[in-house]
């Protein structure tokens, strides 16, 4: 099936006049890191080119959601959390999810058990918690509200330093990022306790690829090719991790970000785990999952109207496996 598609694509590309590549822009939702390794690898390995695309990966500071820039045409594709995408769709933004990569929630609230004395979720009452800025604060904020926990929420891009200086009692972490950063900053793994959202009833998946409704309608083939190449890029990234990390380093160096091989290696492995499809699940994103997301954000006061699932989620590639070779 894949082979025929590739053949068709190549023929199509040839029809377009040989070596001419379609220029598109892609914006990841956070600073360059192994979280976006698949895209970097797809670009550097020439996979996008193979599919007739020239992709410009642009970094945007995470103050605003990159998805917002899609309908304006400022970018063609963007990756972002399901919560953000759904919220923006609910707000009336004409964006669609064309590929759901993350299959699980990696969001958690982390504490040091002994130091903070926090043993269960309710102990967070009245404490100071660092949360992510911008749209990323929706999930943890809604979660705490839903659980009836009143805490002092401090939005920071990276809460580690604040936490080390004892500015907060707990911090919101992504399993693949801040959690390991805590350990690499000297906090003993044994002392850390994580309150995962997924363990508390809200296993909401995260990273997905978005584009504007118009983009999908006018250039469905481009969307399809972009997703296919990206998926291949992810597969390649997981298969050759050492090479992948070198590519990630290149992108991080461009933004003068600290590159720790151990940390990015951890992140890459974590993404592999998160992208793995749970057995028995038919589609990569289900209506139930969207309902769960809506419920959470609705309770948090971020969404009022539930978007229509079939309009929101329009995957351009039906079936694929990122982690096994088939």
């Amino acid at each position: 099936m894949r082979f025929i598609t590739t053949l068709f694509v190549l023929l199509y590309a040839m029809m377009l006049g040989g070596g001419e590549l379609t220029k598109v822009t892609f914006c990841p939702q956070w600073y360059p890191q192994a979280q976006f390794a698949g895209y970097y690898v797809a670009k550097k390995s020439g996979l996008y080119a193979k599919y007739g695309l020239e992709v410009d990966i642009k970094f945007n500071p995470p103050q605003r959601s990159v998805v917002e820039s899609l309908p304006q045409g400022k970018a063609d594709f963007a990756s972002d959390f399901l919560a953000t995408g759904l919220t923006l769709r609910a707000k009336g933004l004409k964006i669609v999810n064309i590929c759901q990569l993350s299959q699980q929630s990696a969001l958690a609230i982390a504490v040091e058990k002994e130091k903070s004395g926090i043993k269960k979720l309710s102990d967070l009452e009245g404490r100071r918690i660092a949360i992510f800025p911008s749209y990323f604060k929706m999930e943890p904020e809604s979660f705490l509200k839903l659980k009836g926990i009143k805490a002092d929420l401090v939005p920071v891009a990276s809460g580690i330093e604040l936490y080390i200086w004892n500015g907060v009692d707990a911090l919101t972490v992504m399993y693949y990022n801040e959690y390991n950063m805590m350990i690499e900053s000297g906090i003993n793994k044994k002392d850390i306790k994580l309150f995962y959202l997924k363990d508390n009833g809200y296993n909401i998946p995260e990273d997905g690829i978005y584009c504007s409704e118009r983009m999908l309608k006018e250039k469905p083939e481009v969307c399809r090719r972009f997703v296919l190449a990206t998926l291949e890029g992810w597969k390649e990234a997981f298969k050759h991790k050492e090479k992948t990390l070198k590519i990630v380093k290149q992108y991080m160096d461009m933004e003068h970000l600290p590159y720790s091989e151990t940390h990015q290696g951890w992140m890459l492995n974590a993404m592999e785990k998160l992208f793995k499809k749970p057995s028995g699940q038919q589609q990569r994103l289900t209506a139930d999952q969207c309902d769960l997301t809506f419920n959470l954000l609705n309770k948090g006061g971020f969404i009022e109207k539930k978007p229509e699932f079939s309009k929101f989620y329009q995957p351009v590639v039906k079936e694929y496996n990122l982690t096994e070779d088939k």
Binding site: A157, G167, E255, P258
Partner: protein, 649 residues
Amino acid sequence: MFKNRSLAFRQCFFILLFVLVFCAIIILFITDRFYDLVLRDVEKAAASMTEATANKLDQTFQVAARVASQNALMMESGNPSEKDIQNILRKTMESISDHPEIYGVCIAFDERAYNDKDQYMMYYAYRNRGNVKLDKVGSRDYHYFYYNWFSMPKILNRAIWVEPYYDKGAGDIVMTTYSVPFYRKVDGKKVFWGVATVDLSLAWLQKIVRKTQMYKQDYACLISKTGRFITHPDVELVMNQTIFGMAKQTKNKTLENVGRNMVDGKSGFSPIARNVYGEKSWIYYTPVESNEWSLAMVFPEKELFAQLNRITWYVLGMAVLGMIGLLLIVIGITFRVTKPLRQLTELTRDFGHGNFEAEIPDFDGNDEISTLGKAFKKTQKELIEHIANLKATTAAKERIESELNIAKGIQEGILPRIFPPFPEFEEFDISSSLEPAKAVGGDLYDYFMLDRDHLCFVIGDVSGKGIPASLFMAITQTLQRTIARIGNTPGEIVTRLSRALHQNNETYMFVTYFLGVLNLQTGRLHFTNAGHNPPFMLKGDETVEKIDTLHGPPIAISDHEYGTKTIELERGTMFFMYTDGVTEAMDRGNNEFSEARLTAVLAENIYIDSPEKTVAAVRGAVKEFTAGYEQSDDITMLVLSYFGPSEKK
């Protein structure tokens, strides 16, 4: 291992082993003590050096901090206009022109806090190519409220040194910022208003740290509060890796613990398995008080202990030389002492091969080895003499034996041995057997024709055995043929023989003697028995008759007159004569063959026609009886079968 080695080797080995072990213990002990001493000295030196650098850093930080603190105060005292802010910043930069490590200063207000119009209000003054530049920054692309240098002092309510970072928006370099919050009063309450910051260039900090060096291969490394490397000889790690990430990557638990101590603000001196160059090293760390960073200096162990190692090598070298010297001396002495022993060992080997003539060196001295050597020499002399004697004796013995064999041959020659002796005579048959106890014996037998009709036969036993008896036997054997003449009776013959022998018999040897003369035509047998075993007469009806007549003592010792007896031999009669060697033949139990047994054997072995069969039977019976036991006397038999006068005439 030691059983087969020489004495010298064993001695040398054990002496040297002991010395080696003893020396090793001493060296180890001394080295250990010195190691501790050196380590303590090194720790002191490292501590003073590291702390000096940490202090220098502290000073730099404090100077910078003061700048920001002053600016914050100025913001709080009154309502500064934008122009005021710009002037303050410019003046600040001028005042710190002799502090090149300070890169820039800024004043930033909280979102929409300066006035209602501006969301962002932030001014930044910095060095740019020898000049001071002043920028107004803050925009959608530089939404600085989320940055740590702004948010941390706000949240923590205190001034703080921020983790180094790359600031694209205002500086384009890696720096660390000291940020001081300032406040204003709103409705009587103190409210956060903004921050005044000062930026320190990391490159400058690294320069300060790099200046510290005690040895060639040591290096310093500065880590931030989160363990991130601010300076490190491996530039790849700087600003990228944390000490904990490195510990995880190299699976180095010690490094992890050191890191934790460092971020906790402790001082210490610790060994680590591998430094960045892979060498075993020591690390001294001390905190930088101002911003709770930590400075460490890493010393490769081989440099720290270079001098000690050199001394140790010298000592080892001397020890080895000493050992070699000792070895040579011990070997020399041992070999000199055991040289005589070795000579004697060789001699013993020569002796074993039959070479007794080997030269034994003279041993003067009274020690044990000289005594042994002298004894050896004496033994050698006696051994040589003894062997010479033995050789002579053996030679003599062999000579005697060969002469004895010749004598045996001669003796056998004088005994009739051809059978049948008289085949032309049909009247009789004769058979004999003589087995001497030694090479030559004293038994004799003889038979010869006196004339055509008269057979003379003799059996005798000279007293004793061996050469004396054989000589006497020879005399007797020779004489009897001379003396026996037809016409004389056996008594007369025996008497004359006895007298002849007696004449020159000074040794008093005697012969038991039996002589018979048989008339072949008549069967009349005349005989004389001089002290000899009575013969037996055997007939065809299996009767064995002992002919018991004795005529006197054995011959040669007296002038006795011997008489004669006459008996008639019927046709088909055997006359069996023997010496006492037969009846006195002994078995292992010292039992004699005895006359009774002889009689019994004869009774069953009467072969009139074949006297040799009877002889053989008796001989066989005796052999069987003695069963290999040593023969003590000559065994002789003479058997005569008389068939009667011949028919032809």
